[in-house]
Amino acid sequence: MRAATRLEYATADDPALNYCLWQYVPAAPAEDKFRSVNLLWHSFEVAGLDARAGAIVEAIRDAIGPFRTVFGVKLLPQGLAWELYFYDYERQGRTVSAARVLEAIAPWVRSPVRVDENLPYFMFSIDLDARIAAGEQELDVVHMYIGNPHSQVSSGIAYAVRERATTLENFYFFFDARTQQREAGEKISCSAYYDTGSLPLERILLPELKACQTICVANKQTHDCVYFSGIVVDQLLFFLERLRYPAALVDFVREHRGRLDHLRFDVGFDYRVEAGRLVVLKSGYYGVC
């Protein structure tokens, strides 16, 4: 089904949720405007993804309900990819479990991964790319996120759960963009991948995006990542153009700006600083479906 024929519109009762499924106050009245899921549908169409991708998303929504899945549209050197994130802060009392989601998508996606549901994860995510959507490749990893008790900063730890082993992946640290911007900058600057003398911090903590609600800094195995949460549509346009997203994606947001201006978006990019140059490894923007 073409994206244009499956566009969804915000109702008066739609929740406004960010990429952590935390509520936010919409930037403008929402009714009759676009739901953020339209960005996902459109990205599938731009990428020429198999129709199974849409069926996978619908199956998940049918299984766990609407507005419970966070999607990420990623731009990698090899093209577009996606990741679907699921939160249940009840942890072991969860209803949204990896087992439940994997069962829901089983008709389209094979996966040998089994997550121990006794573990206190509050979030997990699965990757979706063209080959997985087409059924040509199984889902061989589930990313599991757990908390970081007694940390002075809101934070989480991510693991890659595979059939035969679980390995440590990333650390995430959240900062209030208004009151902890200095701290966020210090966190970015304290890195094995960033010589602060070689590149101004503003190249990472972008002035155009740091006027947001939350800044998240992630330490990953070979690089770092920064996320800007709660930006408005014009900031999203800046991000898409700055990070050189496909023109079709940018044009869609620009064309429908008036129908997207109620949403607050979340974006991020993975990077290393090499010889004084910012190398963006991948980036992404997020929404809820």
Binding site: M1, T5, Y9, A10, T11, D32
Partner: protein, 355 residues
Amino acid sequence: MTQQQPDAFRGLVDGQDIVVEFGQGGPEGVTGGSRIVLPAETARRLLARLGDTLARFAPEALAQDAPLRGTTPLNAPPDPAGERAALTLRLVAGLGAPRNHERSFRLAPGALTANRFLLSLNPVDIPGDAPARVLQACEGLGMPQAVRAEVARRFGEVACVHFGFEEGGSRMLSKLYLEFELGEAARQRARAQAEPLLLHLAFKWAPGDADAVVSRYWLHPGLTAQGIAERLLAMYPQEAQRPSLEIARSVLELAASRAPAGALQYLEVTEDGNPRRSWDLNCYDAVLQLKDVQEALYAMRDRFGIRPGQFQALYDQVRDSRFGHLAGGIHRDGADFFNVYYGVSGYPRVVARLA
């Protein structure tokens, strides 16, 4: 504490503490009283205790000259449409027969109405004097006397009755459809002569009406999909109606691709004395869900200028329901419309012959 009874207070947050000052209210605010500083947790407990304590006092007892407070009515004002719909459900349930329940929504220029349903029963399942009991239910719904005799006269030919309710704009309509038994011989004759057969005779009235609108539903038996398409073309003769024709055709095409050959039932509807000319396509045998015809539904939404958020709120609830009928054409008010019927369910079970 001062001896004078405080009649005013003010509060403020000081770091982690809640500060409440009691005193006398006046032009300069709260004066001459006491100041209490509470940790937030203590304030929270105090609030809970105060709430429990004050619950023992009726609001009017707090002060004789207290300003009037807004009161929540014990029962919300009755909604006429809700009451009428509930009456319909109650009267039909009272007939004591298994029945099917089918919902629908209507799209028309600038309007989306979804408070509509049909209840279908087989008279042979109604205990006792079925015609009399059906008429009694109709009387309970205010069916005009002028048409009750016609219902009684035709009841012997009836295979099925359908009670309907519809709320639209400022009007509510009650409906009774008499569905006639059409034998195979009659169907074959009609097919051979390319003549329609009267399948339903329907009576539609609003509370207090002296008369009812009478609608005739004409079955065109044995039409192929191509034959139905040709009749739809005749239903929309004007160029301005072409988008509605395309929507109808798209649904016909999908249903025909999924249903056994000849399984789609096509009716046309006429009413005496008004311009209604409409059609009804039964798609149950195509085994579709509403989301399968999403493109057509969105096209209807856009054609009639219905607010997308309003439509989305309805569609989110019904998209997985079984798609039943699509009706369309020109209504008695001269407006282009579509009715979408869906999700038949049964009490206590779905009666297949009624579906």
